[in-house]
């Protein structure tokens, strides 16, 4: 059945976070969003919280621990490796795409230029994950 998701959004850009929240606020589902400003902060949240998020949305280009480093850390952690992670980035660089897939991702979204297109793709991704069953940690 369709359900509300616990989403960890790892994104350093303030306006990108605004874009995401504005999109979410117009959805029928009430998802629970946890924000992290970089990979380091995201790891702290994951290590310290009792329950894990259903889904991680991950930016690649971030200070401190970047998206790829973060991805590689959680994929090598037995406790965290099952969390589906969707990349949200402005880079369609082939090396980035290949590296992410190699580490294991549940999707790779290149942010469209227009906000309306962006909203549409976020909606589609979340709509899909709403209907999924997750490994409960």
């Amino acid at each position: 059945m369709r359900k509300n998701l616990n989403i960890l959004l790892v994104e350093d850009d303030m306006i990108e976070i605004m874009k995401f929240n504005r999109t979410i606020s117009k959805l029928a589902c009430l998802h629970n969003i946890i924000e992290a400003k970089n990979g380091e902060e995201a790891l702290e949240i994951l290590y310290n919280s009792e329950s894990l998020p259903d889904l991680i949305l991950l930016d690649l280009n971030m200070p401190k621990i970047n998206g790829l480093e973060f991805l590689s850390i959680i994929r090598n952690n037995d406790h965290l490796k099952y969390i589906p992670t969707v990349i949200l980035t402005s880079s369609s660089d082939h090396k980035d795409v290949a590296d992410c897939h190699q580490l294991g991702i549940a999707g790779y979204l290149v942010k469209p230029l227009k906000f309306s297109d962006y909203s549409e793709s976020i909606k589609t991704v979340l709509d899909y994950w709403c209907y999924n069953e997750f490994v409960q940690a």
Partner: protein, 233 residues
């Protein structure tokens, strides 16, 4: 001799750095543009009732400029990637590739694209080769000014290489521009959206392949671009 090698090494290194730099800067700028574009969309959404028609018009112009700049950055990224990564050689069926390409280009109803005869199956880097055909064909489509636009893709086989042609019945290119159009950022300004990078990408890919490109054109009547791809890379 030793000195020459050192110099080459140094140049190669500098070239790589320059490519990385172009890449990095373009991506950062692209991110900022995404921000701007969203903010602009919100201002429009929230204020469209309150501001006058002139301001709406200006906001739309801003939006169009942002779009163009984004395309520009995309082209720079593409351009800097060529040569920065080595060619990935696979076997390519050009007939299939061409179908994919024509499907990916927006073609107005009054323009038709015809592939004459069978295209070869050859060894090459699919992405790069696609770029060559895609840029030449989309130029032929976008700049076409005729009521019934026609774009023809053809090929002739020689012993060591293929000569491909992309022919259009568009507005033609004056002789004095035949070399200049391959230079980066050069556009003849027929179209608001062009960034002047399409043909420089084509040229750069063909340089990498050891191919050549030239054109025949008659002003007002049309242009044919020819390019060669060696069979052995």
């Amino acid at each position: 001799m030793h000195q020459k090698e050192q110099l080459l090494q140094k140049l190669k290194h500098q070239n790589e750095q320059l490519n990385d730099y172009a890449h990095l800067v373009s991506h950062d700028l692209k991110s900022s543009l995404r921000n701007l574009s969203a903010l602009l969309a919100w201002v429009k959404e929230d204020c469209i009732e309150k501001i006058g028609a002139e301001s709406v018009y200006n906001l739309n112009l801003m939006e169009a400029k942002i779009e163009k700049m984004d395309q520009f950055l995309e082209d720079i990224i593409n351009y800097s990637e060529i040569g920065a990564t080595s060619l990935k050689i696979t076997t390519i069926d050009l007939n299939k590739e061409l179908t994919k390409i024509t499907e990916s280009i927006h073609i107005p109803l009054n323009i038709s694209i015809i592939v004459k005869g069978d295209l070869p199956v050859l060894k090459g880097d699919a992405r790069r080769l696609r770029q060559v055909f895609q840029n030449l064909i989309s130029n032929a489509v976008n700049f076409n000014d005729k009521e019934k636009g026609l774009v023809e893709v053809g090929v002739e086989e020689a012993e060591d290489f293929y000569t491909f042609s992309v022919k259009d019945n568009g507005q033609g290119i004056p002789k004095e521009y035949h070399e200049k159009i391959f230079k980066i950022f050069t556009t003849l300004g027929y179209q608001e959206k062009s960034t002047g990078m399409g043909l420089s990408v084509v040229k750069r890919v063909l340089d990498l392949y050891g191919g050549e490109i030239w054109l025949e054109s008659e002003v007002l009547k049309g242009t044919t671009f020819y390019f060669t791809i060696p069979k052995k890379i």
